[in-house]
């Protein structure tokens, strides 16, 4: 039963957390178990988002672990740990009990989502009620959310900038050597596989973006899938190689994303309507079938670009750090040169 696995994984993390890579794997396992939980309980969009956010988070943390110690040093003394466990246990029990109490009662008043379900197709033009809430009914929440992502990207960039200018930090970085002596740092099969997957993954991203209004998908998931595809290139072929081939400034992607979303919101002012009002129209260009053009798609495009840019900016900042470690830089796509005679 998945529930048992989840609990086992979570508790194992508390015991085993001192080996950081293991702890990370256990954490991501817990996250991956939650995704089918969402899917089972009628939340396909959530499951998609949980999986993709999980993947990006784990990748970023793995890359970041490069710069941190591989194990947590001394454990806290036993009384301290017991006290922590007691506090945590009580808090957890409290939250769990609250959740149970809430789940076993009915809403006291009719929930406002009845309106959202009823108006999703007629008022917002999409059949995916979750997506219409995100980009239309409660689009302002999403606007704030992409601003958060944009700010995160800026903060990450600024922090890494500051580290790169600190002599003490650079010194500590330079003496860092590769943790494990791998024979293959960039195995050829891995590199080739990710390279082939790249256009397909991008296509999946575009597909998810376009269908988001009516089926599970949408700007976030699309942006994350796109970003994962590009992230894989970094993993496969290393920082230097990938950096050379990404010659545009990620700040621009983030900035344009927020700008497009803002303009989509402001556009409705022209019609005398409040900020972020969206409209839609049905077109039937011959020989295609009727489909819908919604201004919410412009907003979703802004979301897509911001998510993509933020993840890539974070990654680019990490790679700038990585290029300064004691590792020998790798300028080839993979470890061996297939054109040489072996």
């Amino acid at each position: 039963m998945l529930w048992g696995v989840l609990l086992a994984v979570a508790l194992a993390t508390t015991v085993l957390h001192r080996d950081r890579v293991v702890a990370l794997i256990l954490t991501s396992l817990a996250g991956l178990i939650i995704a089918p939980f969402f899917a089972f309980h009628s939340a396909p969009d959530l499951a998609l988002t949980q999986i993709s956010v999980e993947v990006v988070t784990v990748l970023l943390i793995l890359l970041a672990l490069h710069f941190l110690p591989a194990t947590t040093p001394d454990a806290l003394p036993a009384p301290r740990r017991l006290w922590s466990a007691a506090v945590a246990g009580i808090a957890g029990a409290g939250v769990g009990w609250l959740a149970w109490a809430m789940m076993t009662r009915h809403h006291a008043f009719p929930p406002i989502s009845e309106f959202h379900l009823a108006q999703s197709k007629p008022g917002a033009g999409g059949t995916n009620a979750v997506n219409t809430i995100i980009v239309d009914f409660r689009g302002f929440d999403t606007y704030g959310e992409i601003i958060v992502l944009g700010i995160a990207a800026l903060v990450i960039f600024a922090t890494i900038e500051a580290v790169l200018r600190s002599p003490a930090a650079m010194q500590r970085l330079a003496i860092r050597s590769p943790r494990r002596e791998d024979a293959d740092r960039h195995p050829m099969m891995f590199a080739v596989a990710t390279r082939v997957l790249l256009p397909m993954a991008m296509l999946v991203g575009v597909f998810l973006f376009l269908r988001g209004h009516n089926m599970p998908g949408g700007g976030f998931v699309a942006g994350l899938v796109f970003a994962i595809a590009l992230l894989m290139q970094y993993m496969a072929s290393g920082y230097e190689w990938s950096q050379k081939r990404q010659r545009y400034d990620h700040h621009l992607v983030v900035g344009w994303g927020i700008l497009i979303a803002s303009l989509a919101g402001v556009g409705s002012w022209v019609f005398g309507l409040p900020f972020l009002t969206s409209g839609f129209v049905y077109v039937t260009p011959w020989p295609l079938d009727t489909f819908e053009l919604a201004t919410a798609a412009i907003f979703d495009l802004g979301v897509f670009l911001t998510v993509l840019g933020a993840v890539l900016l974070a990654l680019a900042s990490l790679s700038r750090l990585a290029l300064r470690t004691g590792d020998a830089p790798q300028s080839r796509a993979f470890d061996i040169d297939p054109t040489e005679d072996r």
Binding site: M102, G144, I151, A152
Partner: protein, 497 residues
């Protein structure tokens, strides 16, 4: 359709985006744009204030969806007042940052500042609980960036702790929101206010829990005991100008408490009753005491300012916790005063610290321009400690007056705390400015930086001189807060479009 209500949120967003896309790397142009935007924001804030006073409470329905199904922005006297406060404070700290060169010490200072203003404005203007959470996150993450601006070993570590602690607070917020929606089925503040009085008694336990959780979240933001311990470490390690800006962030906690405590969970609600007041008053008094003692025992100037800030929030919350129109009006006056006063104190601390290379309160060496700085410090200390003739005295008097009937405990704590703070400031001032002997080092000319502090001081003076009209206006505001029918009606619940 009056779109100007969205301006405090949308304008900074556009400005920040412009800076990222077009002006990256051009600090001079960013500064110019930031100043222009700051001036524009102040103008808009004044216009909104006038509109709220003359036209009453107005709601703006984002996406053209009726409340409670969409998100609404609500402009009433309180939110207009807080936006105006934000505009004034952010402009003064902007000038200080430019004048002292702080904005050049790291990347992206100006976009982050714009986003912080956007987040705080959104928190003040929104009429939806989850939207409040989103804007809390916006302002928090912008503050994380500003906090570690300029880097430095201790700053980054303090920054990590600040972020981690606030993330736990955000998690608490999400649980509370889940409870609220799970029980009532709505997230709109006016809708909650309309529906909660008829809540079935079986659900009131869950709502009480949610209310307490929300108060905890706001108490974290406002640095109320026992959740105040993040503030001294953070503010003492933040860049000085950023700490001054943070003065408005604790007020977000105060504003949210006031909004929820008068609108959603008023004292006459059967489900929660006196719960909020009974929790907040002891916490506020203890915060006042802790802050005052900390002021006396502070070893560095930034920590002095931080503890004084905690004390002033404690006093403000003492007045808020009583939830009557008279105490609320006093609280609002004091909030206006303490925001400006705390900011000035942090700016002075910053000016002093940079002229000595450390903030320790000792008499090691004379400070450059000590006459000027001493005058500023005296003014800031007078304001914070609540001595006449500045507005702190008036504010304190108003609060004491409002608590006349509960004389013993509240009066004792307030007066005792004031005494300790006066001692603390006097000690710091004489150590820094009177005792050092010897030739002062050459003056560092920072007209904008010092000018910014003086402009805030001018604001305090205005608050004092205009105390009559201001308190009358605030009394009307407080009365409106405690009679939330106008707010609820402005949202036009139960109508479509």
């Amino acid at each position: 359709m009056n779109h100007w209500i969205t301006a405090p949120i949308i304008l900074p967003a556009f400005v920040a985006v412009l800076m990222i896309i077009v002006l990256r790397g051009n600090l001079a142009l960013q500064r110019a744009l930031a100043i222009a935007a700051g001036l524009a924001l102040n103008g808009i804030a004044i216009a909104l204030l006038w509109s709220a006073t003359t036209h009453g409470t107005e709601a703006y329905f984002l996406g053209d969806w009726p409340a409670p199904f969409g998100i609404s922005l609500v402009l009433d006297r309180l939110s207009a007042l807080m936006v105006a406060l934000l505009a004034a404070l952010s402009f003064a700290t902007l000038l200080n940052a430019i004048g002292s060169g702080w904005d050049a010490k790291g990347a992206h200072f100006h976009p982050l500042l714009q986003f912080l203003v956007m987040g705080v404005a959104g928190a003040f203007l929104t009429g939806d609980a989850f939207n409040l959470f989103v804007f809390f996150e916006v302002l928090l993450i912008a503050s994380y960036g500003l906090m570690v601006h300029g880097s430095g070993r201790e700053r980054t570590r303090a920054g990590f702790q600040y972020v981690a602690f606030n993330l736990v607070g955000s998690s608490l917020f999400i649980v509370a929101l889940g409870l609220i929606y799970g029980v009532t089925g709505t997230l709109n503040l006016a809708d909650l206010a309309a529906k909660l009085p008829s809540l079935p008694p079986g659900d009131s336990a869950l709502i009480r829990t949610a209310a307490v959780m929300l108060i905890l979240v706001f108490a974290i933001k406002a640095a109320l005991v026992p959740l105040q311990f993040w503030l001294p470490g953070t503010y003492a390690n933040a860049p000085g100008v950023v700490a001054a800006l943070f003065a408005i962030m604790t007020k977000v906690g105060a504003y949210s408490t006031l909004r929820f405590g008068t609108l959603v969970f008023p004292p006459d609600l059967p489900a929660t009753g006196d719960l909020l007041a009974s929790l907040l008053l002891p916490a506020a008094l203890v915060s006042l005491a802790v802050g005052a003692i900390g002021t006396l025992g502070a070893t560095t100037l930034p920590r002095l300012a931080a503890f004084a800030g905690i004390a002033s929030m404690g006093l403000a919350f003492t007045a808020i916790a009583a939830f009557t129109p008279q105490t609320t009006a006093a609280a609002l006056y004091y909030i206006l005063h303490s925001t400006l006063a705390t900011a000035i104190l942090f700016l002075v601390a910053d000016l002093v610290t940079r002229r000595r290379a450390h903030g320790r309160l000792d008499s090691a060496a004379p400070i450059a321009q000590s006459g000027l700085l001493a005058a500023l410090f005296l003014a800031a200390a007078t304001a914070m400690a609540g001595l006449p003739p500045l507005s702190g005295f008036i504010g304190k008097l108003l609060i004491l007056d409002a608590f006349r009937d509960q004389a013993p405990l509240v009066w004792t704590v307030i007066l005792g705390a004031s005494f300790l703070m006066i001692l603390g400031f006097a000690r710091a001032g004489s150590t820094l400015f009177w005792k050092p002997e010897g030739a002062a080092p050459p003056a560092i000319a920072e007209p904008f930086a010092v000018g910014a502090a003086f402009s805030l001081l001018a604001g305090l003076a205005a608050l004092t001189l205009l105390a009559g009209p201001v308190t009358a206006w605030l009394a009307d505001t407080a009365t409106a807060l405690h009679a939330p029918a106008e707010y609820i009606n402005a949202n036009r619940l139960g109508q479509d479009g």
